[in-house]
Amino acid sequence: SPSTSSTGTTEQGETDTPAAEGQETYKIGLHYELTGAVADYGVAENKGSKLAIKLANEAAGYEKYVGVEYDNKSDSSEAVTIATTLASEGVIGVVGPATSGASAATYQISNDSQVIVVSPSATQNNITLVDPNNADSDVYEYIFRVCFEDSYQGAAMAQYATDTLAASKAVIYGDSASDYSKGLIEAFDTQFTKLGGEIVATEYYTAGDTDFSAVLTNINSMEFDVLYIAGYYNEAGLIIKQAKEMGIDKVILGADGFDSESLIELAGAENLNDVYYTTAYTAVDASEKLQAFIDAYKVEYNEEPAMFAALAFDATNLLIQAVEEVGSADAAALQAAVKGINFNGVTGDFTFDDTHTPIKSVLVVKLVDGVQSSADSVSPQ
């Protein structure tokens, strides 16, 4: 069956062999933004998750894992209902949603009903804590994520800009309505200043904008070394294109929001030189494991996987690995297994820290003519 077709909550596995009598099956909730404003990310992650399940089922030889799909329409109150629904459907864990806002809305419910959540891309600072605004508050026992925090990435890029690129003046350009963007901006700003650099200006756009010429004209008249674009590829691609066409030839920095084929399409390969971004996922010097994922993904969906798909693939596999280790659906046992996991994923190898956030190194990828040419590992001090 073509796996791109929508399956809804029809609990359909990816292999054709249904579970026989006596064979264990496990349900995994796939809770994503399949429509609405941020459907782009949710849909990519949904694909990654479904691929992971499919591969696991192939390995098991029967339909051992069943993905239960839900769409929250990019709406956080829908996410609450779905989390409640999933908790009552006996899933062993949930992967998703893609964005921090919708994710945070589900955590208390899932945690209280002892459903493990592995968030692929909830990058907001401290979001796995009961009170994200208070770094001292408790961590939700059942909530994990496989991505690193906005502040971690932002700081890493500031470090790299200062140490490796020898930048001392930076301009920041980000999305005023996005928590992701604002988190990156704050971290970059703090670290860059701490290292003796100067933030010349901080400018903002709104998601959905397509014309950035006014701000870029302004930026063009400033003295600076690097331009840090804190946002996703949708806008970043256009910003880079318009900046280069305007003659801004400074180094451009970004975060994992850059990681998509679309960036190249939108910006044009010729404009993607001297562009660096932080990520946990790169195809440069791909490991065997990663290459296998990329190949499988291409076969399945006929397109290159982006970071979102890779993160969801990891998040789903992490749950599956825990189940394989525990061998049962016992919530507490699974939780312990996840917490103590030593995971080798396509986005890196890691264990969890106290806040259930992965300890993995940040990679800075350099683009040359749109192609990832090198990846350096950094960690902020």
Binding site: D211, A214, V215, N218, S221, G268
Partner: protein
Amino acid sequence: MIQFMQQLINGISLGSIYALIALGYTMVYGIIKLINFAHGDIYMLGAYIGFVFATKTGMGFIPTLIVAMITCSIIGVVIEMIAYKPLRNATRITALITAIGVSYFIEASTQKVMGTNPRAFPNLLPKGNLNISGVVITYQQIFILVVTVLLMIGLQFVVTKTKIGRAMRAVSVDTDAARLMGVNVDQTISFTFALGSALAGAAGVLVGIYYNSINPLMGLVPGVKAFIAAVFGGIGIIPGAMLGGILIGVTEALVSGYGSSLYKDAVVYVILIIILVVKPAGLLGKNVREKV
């Protein structure tokens, strides 16, 4: 000074894009008083149709534009027949809700069929720019502005000077009286939609080329901005839409350039409200006191 001129150019070219979308919006409104929320989505469809046509056939700008305009006008007429025609006698808010339904339908269908990720539009127009003592204008900017002005003039001509235009206005004032003159009301309204949708389709292709990026939700923001532009100028007034669009574009550019880019949208709304308080029917709208 150069900087200021540059920002002005930036604003005008952004504004001409808002205006381009607002023209069709305001014309449809002027004739059938419907806030066609789906207009922005037809614009998006225009971009996708152009995208598919250009990438599949490899043809150039003019054929792409024509195909997008024709297809969009057909889509517009079909939407009108299915979704709006049965509601001719309903309240305007009812028709508005239907338009919202149509908008959801088009957006989600496009997401489903074309995928949710942004696509790069093939570049069908020559690149290059003019540099007038430091102020840069690209050919594409000039092209879009010229096209917008020509379309505005053309549209204004059709509506005010031609027979079909007279029929359109007559229908908008008094449908039954227009019928008594022998006007085929359904055909006239279909024509209005065809025209408005063709304009949206053209806008989709032009914007697709200009920004090189299209996605299924690309109609949302410009849709709302075009609506605001139309209201700014006086809704239903064709030159008003142009004026409103340019004004919004220039405001955004100047606020970004000289104020804080953080508040560019807020400032647009503040100016909008101030203008409406001073001129309750928009800039070019006549504030007629109802005759009692």
